[in-house]
Amino acid sequence: MGKRSFTTMTMFILLAVMTLTAHAVSAVAADRAIIVKGSTTVLPVIQVAAEIFMDKNPEANISVQGGGSGVGIASLLDKTTDIATSSRKIKPEEIEKAKASGINVNEIPIAIDGIAVIVHPVNTVKAMTRTQIREIYTGKITDWSQLGGRKGKIVVVTRDTSSGTFEAFEALALNKEKVRPDALSSASNQAVAQTVAQTPGAVGYVGHGYLTPRVKAVAVDGVQCTKQAIQSEKYPLSRYLYVYTNGRPSGDVQRFINFILSKEGQRLVEEEGFVDILK
């Protein structure tokens, strides 16, 4: 009995030592890892780019995390990330905060995203103006017949108010007016697309990269949501996607960002459904 309990005790100690060692090892590894954190819109591009970059540079170690644009920028401010990704421009108050904590925010646009306004494929409405979009989302237009479609209640689908996509949509389409309180609210681009795809009366908005054949994008102010239109800045609901660093990047961080901006990197941007910034 005594012997066995002694063995158990030893096991405990061993376990504790092993855990500590593991921590130490991961701490060493973390020294070399580049952390990229932020917008879920930008995430797929960074993910693919990081994989290819690491294949080419075996000594580099990049850890990609989501969390949203706000989280990314907040992490840059508290120095827990090397690169913040964002689907919106950094806010003035965030820049102020950065200055306060001695961080020199460096902004680099890496892609353009068009926000597509989507409806169910059976919907006969093919185009909307920005005013109409605003009136749908604020509750002034409630029936498809008001837009020349078949009679039926409009089911408004929006994103959670703190997502980067919402902020961009709010800025580009809503004039900062409030979305009607009974709008369905989804936590991701995919969830919006899914909801619109299975709801004949629905209208929603997603990043251009999340367009699927199961939903239909409408023309906004007479412009179709296409790559060319977004690139030439004719499509009204478009926005730049950014990465932010603390000061001018150097070392692997710089090389990684350069890779994204290279021809090869911008091809990845396109493959993920965004629009490249090479004009």
Binding site: S69, G70, V155, S162, S186, A191
Partner: protein, 304 residues
Amino acid sequence: MSAMKIQRKALVTLKEGAYKWLFATLAFASLVFLVGIVFTLLTESLPVFSKIRPTSFLFGPFWYPTADPPEMGIWPLITASFAVTAGAMVVCVPIGVGTALFIHELAGRRQRAFLKPVIEILAGIPSIVYGFFGMVVVAPILQDLLGIPTGLCAFTASLVLGIMATPTVASLAEDALSFVPRSFREASLALGANRWQTLTRVVMPAAGSGISTAVILGMGRAVGETMTVLMVAGGAAMVPKSLFDPVRPMTSTIAAEMGEAVMGSLHYNALFAIGLMLFLITLGVNIIAEIISRRFRLKLGLGR
């Protein structure tokens, strides 16, 4: 020889002492966590009330946390949580209690051997899977079946949550039934009662408060569930006028917005205040369950 014995004895005493400390520390760790959670909830949520009156926070009809100026009334979120939970109860209480009764009273050995693992598997399915199932399968079906504009609404959320809470209710109610001593059943049958009479007049009343505890804990599960409601409730921050309106319960609000709220902002603090509300609600639910189950044990003479 005897010196060695004494030494050994001292070692044993030392070891026993060490064990006692080790396990006491582990046991108190959970207390430390609880205190830490309560402390965090309080310190992070109280700043809200310096900017917004508690009454307008609790009873305000609009939730626009990122608007300028923000509106932070969580009444729509509270009513949504209650509506969805009540709906879930309507689903899970009859099914859960019925299942427990069937397994305990009527099922043969084979049916029991089949049903119990099925219920356990149901309990083990991650909530996100329920959410996905609700969103992709249940919502479109209900939308077509009931002719409602969207299937993502309080009704669907209730249904899916109800199915989720069913295993909790069923297995706890079954425990309550099996806690009823066999002697009660035998006494009743020996007096010439049939199975149905024994069940309704002796077993059910004796297990009654145990079954209520099961129901209340099932309710606790439904109130606190996050992922599923996030995916199927629709997420509209509006006091529901009917069961078929989309709603935004407290849990899914926290889950959807916490990731994007700027640390230390009013919005961030408000989300913690919602968390505090949830904590108080579940605490209340658990206290009630505890009181009832204590009464139950006294009634059956099982002691505390």
